[in-house]
């Protein structure tokens, strides 16, 4: 009896001591990035079909392991710019669908390049109470390391990605440049049509 209470007490203290640590781990942005990138890279390495460029499988992987961690609405809104707020909900919905398809294509293309790489997340330099921050990492493999940074925002207990930097180039900035011409010439509808065409031709090229 006495021994059992002693054990219970020990268990309780351990739990108490561990719980703040567990909480801190759930909140650390660099740990989050480490986990997501390791998940993705491990999944790619384990699957020969993905490395060979199986579009269906890559899509499934991106949908399962990446998209839940991305604030896609925010990315789209900032890539489109001021015209986003003036758009109807229906336009916004179509834009989100087409842009997401293009992004998944982009990401899938990049993932077929993964072979023997590892992601090294750099130490975080941010205050504990920051709700938006940048986590820097590096993809190391054969050849020069590739810079891979993430902009994160706090979402509940965890984090969401709202921009990615590849080799010094932010994705949202990249798409802003790509969208500018169609947006100024024909507005959001013209852009959506363009993206739909692009996605269609990409889908055809792969099948």
């Amino acid at each position: 009896m006495q021994r059992r209470t002693w054990l219970a007490a020990l268990a309780a203290t351990t739990l108490l001591a561990a719980s703040p640590l567990l909480r801190a781990e759930a909140l650390a942005a660099d740990a989050f990035v480490k986990q997501v990138s390791a998940d993705v890279i491990d999944a790619v390495k384990a699957d020969k079909a993905i490395q060979a460029g199986d579009v269906g499988k890559i899509r499934a992987l991106v949908d399962a392991k990446v998209m839940p961690h991305v604030n896609f609405q925010r990315m789209t809104a900032s890539a489109v710019g001021p015209q986003w707020r003036g758009a109807t909900p229906e336009q916004q919905k179509r834009m989100l669908v087409e842009f997401q398809t293009l992004m998944v294509n982009t990401y899938s293309g990049a993932l077929t390049q993964v072979k023997d790489q590892a992601v090294v997340v750099k130490p975080l330099r941010a205050a504990a109470d920051q709700t938006e921050l940048v986590v820097r990492s590096e993809v190391r493999g054969k050849g020069d390391p590739i810079q891979l940074d993430y902009r994160l925002e706090k979402a509940g207990d965890g984090w969401k990605i709202y921009d990615v930097n590849v080799g010094g180039f932010w994705l949202v900035e990249a798409y802003k440049g790509q969208f500018a011409k169609d947006l100024s010439a024909g507005g959001l509808d013209a852009l959506i049509t363009r993206l739909a065409e692009k996605n269609k031709s990409l889908a055809q090229a792969k099948n």
Partner: protein
């Protein structure tokens, strides 16, 4: 050499002064005043690439064994490391310069002229690549307008001036001094680079709505990022000059 450097210095200074009027210090020049000409050069480059350079790179990749290609890449990498070392010292970064100098020395001596990257195994990895254009940028010289060079691709006025100097004064120019040796060496380097980019360029082709704009934006962002060693300030208007940021009391 010194006269050419002086010339480039004067050119750079002029660029810097004229650049100040339109762009904040340390920022890349937005807008593309030479877009018409650039797009023509770009179209020419694309045609040459599709007809000759890309097929040649594919052939190179198919015919030459991976180990040999790795060795070729390592030799050019080693020469690049030597030039990086020089530029790190020019940028008043002695610790990084010594590190890179050590890496170059180890690979040149123990790696048989750079064929084997033995320094990598010893933990001396290539943590950065610096060129003269970056050094100019580091000391606050503006990039000037975006400029697409025939065959060589994306550049800026500043980087083109720097590159003109590099042809003779960089290690590539020192190792292969005679043009009849240098030209084949540079052709091989181009092949090596292009072969390494075969996968990436396919992704690039697939996702671009306007490839010219994508390449331009990517190039300008990347150069700016490199000049700030991967951490360019976010607000363009008040961003400190790279050398002030790097050498300032903040670090």
């Amino acid at each position: 050499m010194s006269r050419r450097l002086l010339l480039a210095g004067a050119l750079g200074l002029t660029l810097g002064l004229t650049g100040c009027a339109t762009t904040p210090p340390g920022d890349v020049a937005r807008g593309d005043p030479w877009e018409r000409m650039n797009r023509q050069t770009f179209a020419f480059n694309e045609a040459v690439d599709a007809a000759a350079i890309k097929p040649a790179a594919q052939l190179y990749r198919a015919l030459v064994p991976g180990l040999v290609r790795q060795g070729v890449g390592n030799v050019f990498g080693n020469i690049g490391d030597a030039w990086t070392t020089v530029n790190l010292f020019l940028q008043a970064k002695p610790a990084a310069g010594l590190n890179m100098g050590m890496r170059t020395l180890v690979n040149s001596l123990l790696g048989v002229g750079g064929v084997f990257d033995v320094a990598e195994e010893a933990g001396l990895d290539r943590f950065t690549s610096e060129d003269l254009g970056q050094t100019f940028g580091f000391w606050g010289i503006q990039s000037g307008p975006y400029l697409v060079l025939p065959l060589l691709g994306p550049s800026t006025l500043r980087d083109t001036a720097a590159r003109a100097l590099e042809v003779n004064d960089s290690p590539v120019g020192r190792v292969w001094h005679e043009p009849r040796d240098r030209n084949p060496a540079q052709a091989l380097q181009l092949l090596d680079t292009r072969a390494n980019l075969l996968g990436a360029s396919r992704v690039f082709d697939e996702v671009a709505l306007d490839k010219y704009v994508l390449m331009r934006d990517a190039f300008l962002s990347r150069r700016r990022s490199l000049i700030y060693d991967g951490e360019p300030p976010e607000d363009g208007a008040n961003s400190p000059l790279p050398f002030k940021k790097a050498l300032g009391p903040a670090r």
